[in-house]
């Protein structure tokens, strides 16, 4: 193995990365992997208590990280996040949007407010974070990389009752394609990572957790024997895909999604 070659291909030494939703979903793994690859990391979550363990782990491993309390569903909070990062450490080179919540229930039971909650969390928050990231990256004229962690469910139904979540996340796919086209000239590359069955990495709405515990969740994704050719994915699989997309080797990919589904879509 040639460590220099790996550094040249995948290293992000000295880059500044903002990662939303630290502690939930895939964000803790993403934060630690990007820090280990040389980036300074900003973790942005609504709850400070969730962020501290991530900061501690990164610091113990010899990395640099700060936390900025952020509500990604609140426009002013997202603007403040990027302003604060700019003042403290400069313009982010990398933004990874991990924040998400899956509220899975039959469409006939979805109220307008429940629908709006899903769209706010799973689509609008990504719009806020991408818009602010792009504004700062354009102003710096150094380009940048944005990766959203969405879901394979945006391409193919996984669970029954994913109408709202699937629509919101598919909306992110559309947002990514449009923004990738618009800002390619600014060397801002924007992609998605779409995990399938990666254990414990989707934040579930409390009612969805209750449904899961009652055995009420059904759908293609629950057929574990036939529909997971490679079994469960590891949390690090998501972080590794992000690292590839934000590093030197990902320099010619924009507007796409990498599906981490262990073969589900072909099963």
């Amino acid at each position: 193995m040639n460590p220099e070659a790996l550094q040249r291909l995948f290293g992000i030494e000295g880059k500044l990365a903002v990662i939303t939703d630290s502690g939930g979903n895939s964000s803790s793994d993403v934060a630690q992997v990007l820090a280990a690859a040389g980036a300074k990391v900003v973790v942005a979550d609504k709850e400070s208590a969730r962020m501290q363990p991530i900061l501690d782990q990164i610091k113990v491993a010899g990395g640099e990280a700060i936390a900025v309390a952020t509500d990604v569903e609140n426009e002013a909070s997202v603007i403040a996040l990027f302003d604060q990062v700019e003042r403290a450490w400069g313009t982010p080179d990398i933004v990874v949007n991990c924040a998400a919540m899956n509220n899975c229930r039959p469409l006939t039971e979805f109220t307008e407010s429940a629908w709006d909650e899903v769209i706010s969390m799973d689509l609008k928050s990504v719009f806020f974070c991408m818009r602010e990231a792009i504004r700062h990256m354009k102003a710096s004229a150094r380009g940048g990389r944005i990766v959203n962690i969405t879901t394979m469910g945006s391409l193919h139904p996984v669970l029954n009752g994913n109408g709202a979540y699937g629509a919101a996340r598919a909306g992110v796919n559309g947002l990514v394609r449009s923004a990738a086209l618009d800002y390619a000239k600014d060397n801002i590359l924007i992609n998605n990572v779409m995990p399938g069955a990666v254990q414990g990495k989707v934040r579930l709405h409390p009612e969805t957790i209750a449904r899961l515990e009652r055995g009420e969740l059904t759908g293609p994704g629950m057929d574990t024997e036939r529909r997971r050719p490679l079994g469960w994915g590891k949390p690090e699989d998501i972080a590794a895909a992000v690292l590839y997309l934000v590093g030197p080797s990902g320099g010619y990919i924009t507007g796409h999604g990498i599906v981490l589904d262990g073969g589900f879509l072909l099963s």
Binding site: H156, P157, P220, D223, R226, L266, S267
Partner: protein
């Protein structure tokens, strides 16, 4: 409420193929035969092109007996001379080709590890190269006449999503090639008003399909319980109706597309 004649008038502008000449390959049985019946019912003059001329004659006679127009012609789509001869025959008989349905396919299964290169080649020659040869002959005529035309390639849901394990690798690869040909030709000849689309059937209750399960141990994703959300495989006429839509003026702005008639298999 519109009355029946008003509804009929609108539908006729969308689906009436009176005066059109349609060449359907592999039309002596199964999906091809049902497609021929349907196209004849909406006024098309149908060329039943098949390797089995006797069976083609039976299919043509049935249409004629119902008052339609059909002729039976022999074609081996794997043989370029046979393809050329068929289209020359069609020139003589009808003077034009408005619609081509590439339905002929090599259906033979082969176990992946045991497959001979001859089996692989036979699949590509019939399913992919045959489609290419027929498309080329038809598009030449559509270009020359200057009125455009419509081609529908019968592909398979297997071109996009595996259906059976072990026995279909050569078939799925050939059908994926057909879909690519659909896109290439649609792009290249759109300016001459030649439309090209693919239809992707899932399982069908056709004669060809029945022979397969007698010979091979069929296994794979499509065989699993509950994998076809509509709960059944298709009657070939249900797929023929999709072919008619794509071939007809109703789809005048549709080209280069693949349309699955799979009972929901691809979203299950």
């Amino acid at each position: 409420m519109y009355n029946d004649s008003q509804i009929g008038a609108r539908l006729a502008t969308m689906f009436n193929l009176a005066g059109k000449v349609v060449v359907i390959t592999g039309a002596a049985q199964g999906l091809g035969r049902q497609t021929a019946r349907l196209f004849a019912e909406v006024g098309a003059q149908v060329v039943i092109a098949d390797l089995n001329l006797e069976a083609a004659k039976v299919a043509a006679a049935e249409i004629e007996a119902r008052g339609g127009t059909a002729v039976a012609l022999m074609i081996d789509v794997a043989d370029h001379a046979s393809v050329a001869a068929l289209f020359t025959d069609v020139d003589t008989k009808f003077g034009q080709v408005d619609i081509l349905i590439n339905n002929a396919a090599h259906r033979a299964k082969a176990e992946f590890f045991d497959m001979t290169v001859e089996q692989w080649d036979a699949m590509q020659e019939v399913t992919l190269r045959g489609t290419f040869l027929c498309c080329r002959e038809a598009i030449r005529r559509m270009q020359a006449k200057g009125t455009g035309g419509s081609i529908v390639n019968i592909s398979s849901v297997g071109s996009v999503h595996p259906t059976l394990w072990g026995v279909n690798a050569h078939y799925d690869a050939a059908k994926a090639g057909v879909d690519s040909l659909t896109r290439s030709l649609a792009s290249e000849f759109a300016s001459e008003r030649v439309r090209v689309n693919s239809v992707l059937p899932g399982g069908m209750t056709s004669e060809g399909a029945a022979k397969i399960s007698d010979t091979y141990r069929i296994r794979g994703p499509m065989i699993g319980a509950g994998r076809i959300p509509l709960g059944r495989i298709a009657d070939p006429m249900e797929v023929a109706q999709v072919v008619l839509f794509l071939a007809s003026p109703a789809a005048s702005y549709v080209t280069g597309q693949i349309l699955a008639a799979d009972g929901g298999y691809m979203v299950s």
